[in-house]
Amino acid sequence: MAKLSISCKEATKFISQKEESKLSFKQRVQLLAHLGICGLCKMFAKQNKIIVNASKHLHEHITETLSETDKRSMIEKLENS
C-alpha cells in the first residue's frame, strides 16, 4: 500500500500547488486525509486563502507617492534627453 500520510511541511506546500491544480490524485487524497486530522494545517489553509485574496487587492491600497523633487527631476531628464 502506498504511503498515505504526509507531513505538515508537505501538506502546506500541497495547498499552494493545489491552487494551480498541480496535485496528482494520490496527492489530493493525501492532502485531504492530512487536513482531516490536522487542525493546524487546516488553519493554515484558511489563512492562506485570506493572504492570497488580500494580496490580489494590495495594489489598490498602496498610497506612497513620489516627492515633488523626484517628479521635477523626471521632467528635467525627459526634456534634456
Binding site: K9, S16, I50, L58, H61, E64, L66, K77
Partner: protein, 185 residues
C-alpha cells in the same frame, strides 16, 4: 514632443506607475528608477505610439517589461546561493511537523471586515517588504500579475521544485508576520 507633455506625463502617471512598481520590487529607489526609465523609453518612442491603446496602458506595458527585465537579471544573482537557504527553515521540526512556536493560531477572521481596512493593507505591505527579494519576486509574479508557475520558472530560470519552495516560504513568512502584527497582537 512639445514641452508640456513631459509635465503632463509625470504629473498624471508617475505616482500610478510608482505604486505599481514599488510592491513588485520592494525598493523605493529601484521603483523610482524603473518609472524614470519607463518615461524615457516612452519619450524616445513617442512617434511610434499609434494611440491604439491609451497612453496610460502604453506606459504600463513598458513598465511591466522593465520589471520583468529586472526580475530576470536579478534572479541569476538571487538563486546562486539558493541551496544555502534551505537550512534556515524554522517553521517545521525535524519530523516536518509544525515547530511548537510556529503553530498557526486561530485568526478568528471569519468576519472579514477587519481586514478590509487601510491599516491591514499597510501591515500586509510591510510584511511583504520583509520577504527575501527572490521570494517577493515569485510571490508578486504569481499573485499580483497572475502568472502560472511554468511562466515564472521560465522567466526566472528556476526549476519548478525551487519555485514551489520559494512560494511556500514566502507564504509561511507572510502568515507568521501577519499573525504577529495584525491578527494576534
Amino acid at each position: 514632443m512639445p514641452k508640456a507633455d513631459a509635465n503632463k506625463w509625470v504629473n498624471d502617471y508617475s505616482d500610478m506607475l510608482y505604486r505599481f512598481a514599488l510592491p513588485r520590487v520592494n525598493d523605493a529607489e529601484l521603483a523610482k528608477d524603473l518609472v524614470q526609465e519607463t518615461f524615457l523609453a516612452a519619450w524616445r518612442n513617442a512617434e511610434n505610439f499609434k494611440g491604439e491603446i491609451s497612453e496610460k496602458n502604453w506606459l504600463f506595458t513598458i513598465l511591466k517589461n522593465k520589471i520583468i527585465d529586472h526580475y530576470r537579471k536579478a534572479s541569476t544573482r538571487l538563486t546562486e546561493n539558493f541551496s544555502d537557504r534551505a537550512t534556515e527553515d524554522n517553521f517545521f521540526d525535524e519530523e516536518n511537523h509544525w515547530e511548537k512556536n510556529a503553530y498557526p493560531k486561530d485568526w478568528k477572521a471569519d468576519d472579514t471586515k477587519n481586514i478590509e481596512t487601510k491599516e491591514f493593507y499597510e501591515v500586509l505591505e510591510k510584511c511583504k517588504a520583509k520577504l527575501k527579494e527572490i521570494q517577493n519576486t515569485v510571490f508578486s509574479m504569481k499573485y499580483f500579475d497572475g502568472f502560472e508557475s511554468e511562466e515564472i520558472c521560465k522567466e526566472l530560470g528556476i526549476t519548478p521544485s525551487n519555485y514551489w519552495v520559494l512560494l511556500h516560504r514566502a507564504k509561511l513568512q507572510l502568515r507568521s508576520c501577519l499573525e504577529k502584527n495584525w491578527f494576534i497582537k
